[in-house]
């Protein structure tokens, strides 16, 4: 049964009991009032009766005409009292019927008694004896009537008592019923609501703690039972999802392993033939130079260059793959210091070049140190490379406000590129310049993009041909300690 149905039944029972008690109080009130009326009437009857007796005796003793008339009035009054009012419908009291008959009989006797006698032809003695007999019967009749009147009064008192007893009984019974329904409601609330709720609470705690095998398994069909089944269905679904995720993770892991094996194989096996090509070409150049003409020697140099270029390509592709595989270890990194360090190494590599570095101090980001180094190395190498033909090369590193948050930038005043090709900028093997102009494999910016994406950092570029290029990247919380400055170079 549903809890709401049970609740409705309990409420209905309680209200019904209260209505019953109210009705019983009303009934008892009516009963008492009715009985009270009867009691009053019984008193009147008694009074009328004693009046009747008084006038009857007066009439017998003194035979005045006035007393006879008074008796008639009193008898009529008594008869009226007996046939109207609270006793009108011949109540269960048989005494009333008897009372009426006896009153009638008494009146007949009285009428007989006071009938004027026929003078002369009646024996005086016999007449006297007859009258004495009548008087005695009348007295007896009156005595009976008085008894009946007392019985009537007793009956009304008994009726009041009965009504009161019944009222007390009904109130006690109703209160017991109310107590019972209250107890039942408490028991039902405890058994059907509170205990299951406690278990559901336990269940939510278990599931929150990660125990997805927990089941409530309620069999009841009420609201809480349905809720528990929904809860079970929910944990089942969760378990399913987790299993799915685990499977996916497993597959991903397998894929990752496969990719690692692939990279490993590439690293080992693809480079070996290149070494042979380069090595044996050099052997030919060294040992058989005299037997080769210029074209032959040029071909061998080309073979060597191609081999070495492919070696670099393989290395960078492996680097790209490694960037994806490496686990991120995010911590606070002093970007300014890192840039300065890379700048120094670039300068050392080509000391003949004079580049003006403008590196802002105090730029701190939260990033993986090793990966950020690779990204910055690529960006700065690009800036270094593409300013090679600029007259007064400037490379700037700093921060700039972007959408209300600081974004880092690496800008140069080098050759730049056409923004209409910008969508290809970060793709692997995409180049903006001929390799003869500026050497490179075209993987560097793909690596940069992948590193920033792994940090959930945005990266974008802005440039125009001949006006330098600026690469922006925005970490979630770039910390810039220095005061706001002007715009980036480029």
């Amino acid at each position: 049964m549903k809890i709401s149905t049970t609740g409705r039944i309990i409420t209905a029972t309680t209200l019904g009991t209260i209505v019953l008690i109210a009705a019983m109080v009303g009934w008892a009130q009516a009963e008492v009032s009715a009985a009270d009326l009867q009691r009053l009437r019984a008193g009147e009857i008694t009074r009328a009766l004693s009046n009747l007796r008084l006038v009857t005796f007066e009439s017998i003793l003194h035979r005045p005409e006035r007393a006879r008339l008074q008796e008639q009035q009193a008898a009529a009054h008594l008869d009226q009292l007996l046939s109207n009012g609270p006793f009108a419908q011949a109540d269960p009291s048989t005494s009333l019927v008897a009372l009426r008959e006896r009153a009638a009989a008494a009146h007949r006797l009285f009428t007989e008694l006071v009938r004027p006698g026929v003078d002369g032809d009646v024996d005086i003695v016999a007449e006297q004896r007859y009258l004495a007999q009548l008087t005695t019967r009348l007295l007896l009749q009156h005595q009976e009537i008085a008894n009946d009147a007392f019985q009537l009064a007793d009956y009304t008192r008994a009726r009041i008592d009965a009504a009161q007893r019944r009222l007390i009984f009904v109130i006690l019974g109703g209160l017991s019923l109310l107590a019972l329904t209250t107890a039942l409601a408490a028991w039902l609330i405890h058994g059907k609501v509170l205990r299951p709720l406690r278990r559901i609470e336990e269940g939510t705690q278990e599931v929150a703690a990660g125990n997805l095998d927990f089941r409530l398994d309620f069999s009841s069909n009420d609201e809480i039972g349905r809720m528990a089944r929904n809860f079970d269905a929910m944990t089942d679904a969760l378990r399913g999802s987790f299993a799915q995720i685990e499977r996916s993770n497993h597959e991903l892991g397998a894929l990752n392993k496969e990719m690692e094996a692939f990279s490993y194989s590439v690293s080992h096996d693809l480079r070996a033939p290149l070494r042979s090509m380069d090595g044996f070409s050099l052997s030919l150049l060294e040992d058989y130079s005299d037997k080769l003409d210029d074209e032959g020697r040029d071909s061998l140099v080309r073979i060597r260059n191609a081999s070495q270029r492919m070696g670099r390509l393989i290395d960078e592709l492996l680097g790209l793959a490694r960037v994806t595989r490496t686990e991120l270890k995010v911590r606070q990194v002093d970007l300014s210091a890192m840039v300065r360090e890379i700048a120094e190494s670039l300068q050392q590599r080509q000391p003949e070049r004079s580049v003006q570095w403008q590196i802002d101090d105090g730029i701190e980001v939260r990033a993986d140190r090793a990966l950020l180094h690779i990204a910055l190395q690529n960006l700065l190498e690009n800036a270094w490379k593409f300013t090679a033909r600029t007259e007064a090369p400037v490379i700037r590193v700093g921060t700039v406000a972007h959408d209300g948050q600081p974004a880092c930038f690496v800008g140069d005043n080098g050759v730049g590129f056409d923004m209409s090709y910008a969508d290809r900028l970060f793709g692997a093997f995409q180049r903006m310049h001929h390799e003869s102009e500026f050497p490179g494999t075209g993987i560097g910016l793909a690596i940069v993009q992948r590193i920033f994406h792994r940090h959930e950092a945005a990266v974008w570029a802005h440039s125009a041909p001949g006006q330098g290029a600026t690469f922006y990247f925005k970490f979630r919380d770039t910390h810039d300690e220095r005061p706001r400055q002007g715009h980036p170079a480029g």
Partner: protein, 151 residues
């Protein structure tokens, strides 16, 4: 300047790499005899004078082992492990010379007690430089442990 008794063991399965390594070592003016093992098992047979190399019993250990990692039968790391677990070869200088620059190879190599880890460059000129430095360092500068190390 080179002691002909100081044998170098080159463990290399790729004939091209073998030829190039030999060429690089020769070009570095190393006159030491160079023995070549073409897989891991042959390398251990040579070192422990057993199997096809049983005739080597009583001969001194090589001065230097140049070990490739990717080898048939038993790979380079397995060879290194076997060398380090044998008391007689425990301190034998082993230089890993490989194509791989995978971090895990580097870590496993050093973990298993490699003395050095050199990556084979594609550019043969760089390879020549590396071979030269290797030869000079391990055969001339480096002081080898005594043949029978004190227990």
């Amino acid at each position: 300047m080179n002691d002909p008794d100081k044998v170098i063991l080159l463990v290399e399965d790729n004939p091209d790499d073998e030829a190039l390594t030999l060429r690089a070592l020769r070009r570095s003016h190393l006159l030491n005899p160079i023995e070549v093992a073409r897989d891991g098992v042959e390398a251990l047979d040579f070192l422990f004078a057993r199997g096809t190399r049983a005739a080597r019993a009583g001969e001194p250990l090589p001065t230097l082992v140049i070990l490739d990692l990717k080898l048939p039968k038993l790979d380079g790391l397995g060879v290194l492990k076997a060398i380090r677990s044998e008391p007689r070869t425990r301190f034998l200088p082993v230089v890993i010379l490989t194509s791989s620059q995978e971090e895990r190879d580097l870590i496993s190599g050093y973990e298993l007690g490699a003395n050095s880890y050199v990556r084979k460059p594609v550019d043969f000129n760089e390879f020549l430089d590396a071979a030269k430095v290797l030869g000079i360092y391990w055969l001339m500068i480096n002081q080898l442990p005594p043949e029978r190390p004190a227990q």
